[in-house]
Amino acid sequence: MNSLYYQKRLSRNIGDKFFTSLSVICALIAILPLIFLVTYILIKGGSQITPELFTLEPNPPGDDLDAGGINPALIGTLIITTIASIIAIPVGVGGGIYLAEYSKGGAFSRFIRFGVNVLAGVPSIIAGVFIYALIVSTKILFGSMYSGLAGGMALSILMLPTVIKTTDEGLKLVPNELRYASLGVGASMYTTILKVTLPSAFRSIATGVVLGIARAAGETAPLIFTALFSYYYITGFGDLFYEMGSLAVLIYNFALEPYDAQNKLAWAASFILVLSILSVNIFSRILAAFTEKTKRV
């Protein structure tokens, strides 16, 4: 009779309890670092934020108490990621269009899709090494070696797979009826793509691309020997061909300095970097969830 009731001491129930608590512990361990990390960065970095931070140049490491600001690095990050986007977005969207709209699942498109996945798995530092060999050491860009332009190119290699993938997947989600309708009224293929399929996939593509840009903005490894670092203000177009600072490299360089002032600057830069990357992520997540809801209606 008793066997119909839940028996605490049954070995299977004890085992179940044990494993359940184990998985709860796993989940706790998984989220604890994030909570620690984010709160620590927000407190430690946030307390360093001053208006001068955004306007001054960083002082070269020394034991001064004042480390200056991060203006060149902030602008540099914006410029380098913009260059990377200018290269990666057209190439990636174009490639994604070919994969999703034109290819018929043949050997070529399978190879490209495979290549996209492989390229996504290439370590980011290898992208830096590649650009170093191709552009920095050959001085192919009008005799300049380390430059913001080279850094942007290295980052674009990392962005490219993300952009192709999101375009490909976004376009695949567009219902075929739309294409038939457009082709049926006599539109050519490129009009159909540019006026019908691409706009209707725009939001999912844009979300993916923005996430890709956010990821690229935090990449350091491809920049440390392509864009290098600079302490000075970016004043004009010509500075693209010289060493350029970025937030990520600033954090790397100044974290390893033995001076407290530089370390604090690294924390402040982390605060800005993490805050912007997280807010982009959260915002696009909300946007994606919102679109999903409206689509279902």
Partner: protein, 315 residues
């Protein structure tokens, strides 16, 4: 009627529009082949740059650990060993944690809202730049774990892995920060593959009287295994290529040691550290090391993709 048909037949697109259509298609084709060009370019460039070092040291490069720019002697054993040890050990810690978290998220222990929050929390962890994790590791993790490492050395010092006195940055810290970085990857892929297991299987298992964890261990996990394996392999590729956080915390020493409590090296941290100032045959040797790293991560990645293709959509 017939007249109308011929009318349609003769109606052609304007020449310009047709040409634009063709140009558009071919542009897209060229743009998509850029991926292949870049990929092949990377492999070829890195290979040819490493040629000098490759022909001089051959495979001896992989097993000797002398790295001496003064004497022009190069061997990357310490770095290769460091890469493999840090990535495999970190994965060893991450797999149970990640899969455990994934199970927690996919089962109904707590209301759905909490599970979704935890899930997106873990995914946000993946968005944090590794250089920031490195900064955090230097200033927060290292002091936090210092006493623990001393304890580890005092009690388990007889094991070669813990045989050196812990002084600041070391390989074990690199492994721990890698765990933080890999957790989101393993968790989110494991969660996705657990979610893909059909409900029928679970209901059938419950129906014949299996307990919850009996179901998980003998039905759900085996069904999701291929997806989880692929996620693990992707994480392994990431771990091997991960540069910044590891470079900042591993201590960057080329002296070989079995101990995890001594400073170490990985291929990527060696590249990050030395590439900027290297010249002569050191550059070529660094390219050789980069080539080794690339081959390692390519093999892991291709194997992961093969696994996904082979075993996906079984249900």
């Amino acid at each position: 009627m017939e007249e109308k048909l011929t009318l349609f037949k003769n109606r052609k697109r304007f020449g310009i529009e047709k040409n634009i259509d063709i140009i558009f298609k071919n542009t897209a084709l060229v743009l998509s082949s850029f991926v292949a060009i870049i990929l092949l370019g990377i492999i070829l460039v890195v290979f040819f740059q490493s040629f000098e070092s490759f022909s001089r040291y051959g495979l001896k490069f992989l097993v000797t650990s002398e790295w001496n720019p003064v004497k022009d002697e190069y061997g990357a054993f310490t770095a290769i060993y460091g890469t493999l040890v840090t990535s495999f050990l970190s994965l060893l810690i991450t797999i149970p944690l990640g899969v455990g978290t994934a199970i927690f998220i996919t089962e109904d222990f707590v209301p759905k809202v909490f599970r979704e929050i935890i899930g997106s929390f873990v995914e946000l962890l993946a968005a944090i730049p590794s250089v920031v994790l490195g900064l955090w590791a230097i200033f927060v993790m290292e002091p936090f774990f210092r006493t623990f490492f001393v304890f580890l050395h005092n009690f388990f010092g007889w094991i070669p892995l813990f045989s050196t006195e812990p002084t600041g940055r070391n390989s074990l810290l690199a492994i721990l920060i890698l765990v933080v970085m890999l957790l989101p990857i393993v968790t989110s892929i494991a969660r996705d593959s657990l979610n893909q297991v059909p409900k029928k299987l679970r209901n059938a298992a419950y129906g014949i009287g299996a307990s919850r964890w009996k179901t998980i261990f003998s039905v759900i996990l085996p069904a999701a295994l291929s997806g989880i394996m692929a996620g693990v392999l992707l994480a392994l590729g990431r771990a091997m290529g991960e540069t910044m956080a590891v470079t900042m915390i591993i201590g960057n020493s080329n002296a070989f040691s079995w101990s995890l409590l001594s400073p170490g090296y990985t291929i990527s941290s060696m590249l990050a550290n030395q590439f900027g100032e290297a010249d002569g045959s050191q550059v070529s040797s660094l390219f050789y090391a980069a080539f080794v790293l690339m081959i390692l991560s390519l093999v892991v990645n291709i194997f992961a993709q093969w696994l996904v293709k082979k075993f996906s959509l079984k249900y």
